[in-house]
């Protein structure tokens, strides 16, 4: 059901773990499935120097966490904001339709961590909104 890329990132997740002195931490839960993701960011200057994640979730959740953290690592905050769940999915060669909502978890977790960072440093990040308690609303799982 998953692509080889997804399986690779599930098997060998990149950036798994925690950052003790993180600049920002974001935790989000998925109302749809109850799964949880936490992202740790280490930001220096405007650049994401390091990123780690922990995920309680399905294979797609783990793989998108891994891929999303890979994609934002070394990027500026602005560049990181451009990493959408769509970009993550594409980088993974796609996800099955019922798993699209899992990729939102990763996007939202990074946004939540950025928000935490912005709050702490009292700055504003273009296009960043306060994270919702959960991200269940704008999922795209189609029910018949």
């Amino acid at each position: 059901m998953y692509t080889e890329k997804v399986m690779d990132h599930f098997k060998n997740p990149r950036n798994m773990g925690e950052i003790e002195d993180a600049s920002g931490i974001g935790t989000v839960g998925n109302a749809k499935c109850g799964d949880i993701m936490r992202v740790f960011l280490k930001i220096e200057g405007d650049v994401i120097e390091d990123v780690k994640f922990k995920t309680f979730g399905c294979g797609a959740a783990v793989a998108t966490s891994s891929m999303a953290t890979e994609l934002v690592k070394g990027k500026t905050v602005k560049e990181a904001m451009a990493v959408t769940n769509k970009a993550v999915m594409e980088a993974l060669d796609g996800l099955p339709p019922v798993k699209v909502h899992c990729s939102l978890l990763a996007e939202e977790a990074i946004h939540a961590a950025l928000w935490d960072y912005a709050q702490k440093h009292n700055i504003e990040i273009d296009g960043l909104k306060e994270p919702k308690a959960d991200i269940g609303e704008h999922d795209s799982f189609e029910e018949i």
Partner: protein, 387 residues
């Protein structure tokens, strides 16, 4: 992945080679329509008669009480919708449980939309219904009690004989979804006062796409699938002859070997439970420890999500399941695990391992070893787990 260890026999089983051998002649050679007049068709007709007898014998029924269907799901739909429709003048109240298979639950939900009232009985933390609660929930307008023989996820076997007695005492029709129990534990429709019973071929090393509904002879149950006069005018559609032959053969093999297989399976099952409990912490056994199907093992692993566990096991060649296969399209945690009182996030981390009579001790040892590693790996990844 060198060797596959298949521990998902509650989802489906491997077709028995001997069953397939019995089916083979009815594909290309004896292909006649059993409803036809000419003698060529009598081969099919005879084969169906033998299969019906074998199935009837396996549950202590009469031949004329066995109706072949397309599977457990159709049998459940037919039984419940059929009774609902036929006895609507008596009432619109049906009693079932919170842990039924979706084939029963979704059928009941459909009936609710049609104005029927359904009581979903609670179960205790082992998945057992309470006989007193059942009796109390009976009303003058109750027309059906539908309670599964054994649960497909946690393996708990319900007190069917007691339920049958209550049903009989109150003169209410009793249907049981025996899809998981059939061929695995002894069933006797008369001793257990069962009026309707659903079963499926592919859960007992028979073919997919075939099942049956037992209908006690005094029960009025109209057709669910309308058309030709097959199955004594109660179930239309050209008979799936090889499927029926396979179901008959599988029923016979399962029943002939039941005692011996069950003894062996229970030993294996208890060994696996013991080993998992010895090697992994923060776990919970789901389902009753002894009143359970001989081949079912089900644990929750805290801090871990089920699908990740399954994929990781799959990478080691181990086939298992989390919740039932047919809900894998869904994202909700198992309604069965919620019903036995598990919180949402724990219910998410369940693992069902269902053995076959061919499962070896070596396989089980390998599974436990892998499971230990995988659980550790996934817990290290989990934001919920602090070690």
């Amino acid at each position: 992945m060198s060797k596959i260890i298949y521990l998902d026999n509650a989802a489906t089983t491997q077709l028995d080679e001997n069953v397939f051998e019995e089916m083979k002649p009815y594909f290309v050679e004896h292909y006649g329509n059993p409803s036809s007049v000419y003698s060529v068709a009598s081969e099919s007709k005879k084969a169906i008669d033998i299969a019906r007898e074998r199935v009837a014998n396996s549950i202590g029924a009469e031949v004329s009480e066995i109706y072949f269907t397309n599977g457990g799901t159709e049998s459940d739909n037919w039984a419940i919708k059929g009774i609902a429709e036929n006895y609507v003048n008596k009432g619109k109240h049906i009693i079932t449980t919170k842990i039924e298979h979706h084939a029963v639950l979704h059928t009941c939900e459909y009936l609710e939309k049609q104005g029927y009232e359904i009581t979903y009985l609670n179960v205790d933390e082992d998945g057992l219904i309470n006989i007193e609660e059942l009796e109390k929930s009976i009303r003058p307008d109750t027309i059906l009690i539908s309670i599964m023989f054994a649960n497909n996820e946690i393996g708990t076997i319900e007190p069917i004989k007691e339920i049958g007695e209550i049903a009989k005492k109150h003169n209410i029709i009793f249907h049981t979804d025996a899809v998981q129990a059939f061929g695995h534990v002894p069933i006797h429709v008369n001793e257990m006062n069962i009026d309707l019973l659903s079963a499926s071929g592919h859960k007992v090393n028979g073919p997919k796409g075939i099942g049956f509904l037992y209908i006690r002879k005094n029960i009025k149950l109209k057709s669910f699938i309308h058309g030709g006069a097959q199955e004594r005018q109660r179930r239309a559609g050209t008979e799936n002859v090889p499927g029926i032959v396979g179901l008959g053969a599988a029923a016979k093999i399962a029943c002939d070997n039941m005692e011996e297989r069950a003894k062996h399976l229970i030993k294996q099952r208890d060994y696996l439970m013991e080993q998992i409990e010895k090697n992994v912490d923060y776990i919970r056994l789901n389902g009753h420890r002894t009143k359970r199907l001989p081949n079912n093992v089900n644990f929750c692993f805290r801090f871990i999500e089920g699908e990740s566990l399954l994929i990781s096991l799959d990478m080691e060649g181990i086939c298992a399941s989390s919740g039932s296969a047919c809900t894998s399209g869904s994202l909700d945690p198992s309604h069965v695990l919620l019903a036995i009182g598990l919180p949402h996030e724990i219910a998410h981390g369940s693992l069902r391992l269902t053995l076959s009579h061919n499962t070896t001790k070596e396989e089980l040892d390998f599974v436990v070893e892998q499971l230990k590693d995988i659980v550790n790996r996934l817990r290290a990844m989990s934001p919920l787990y602090e070690d």
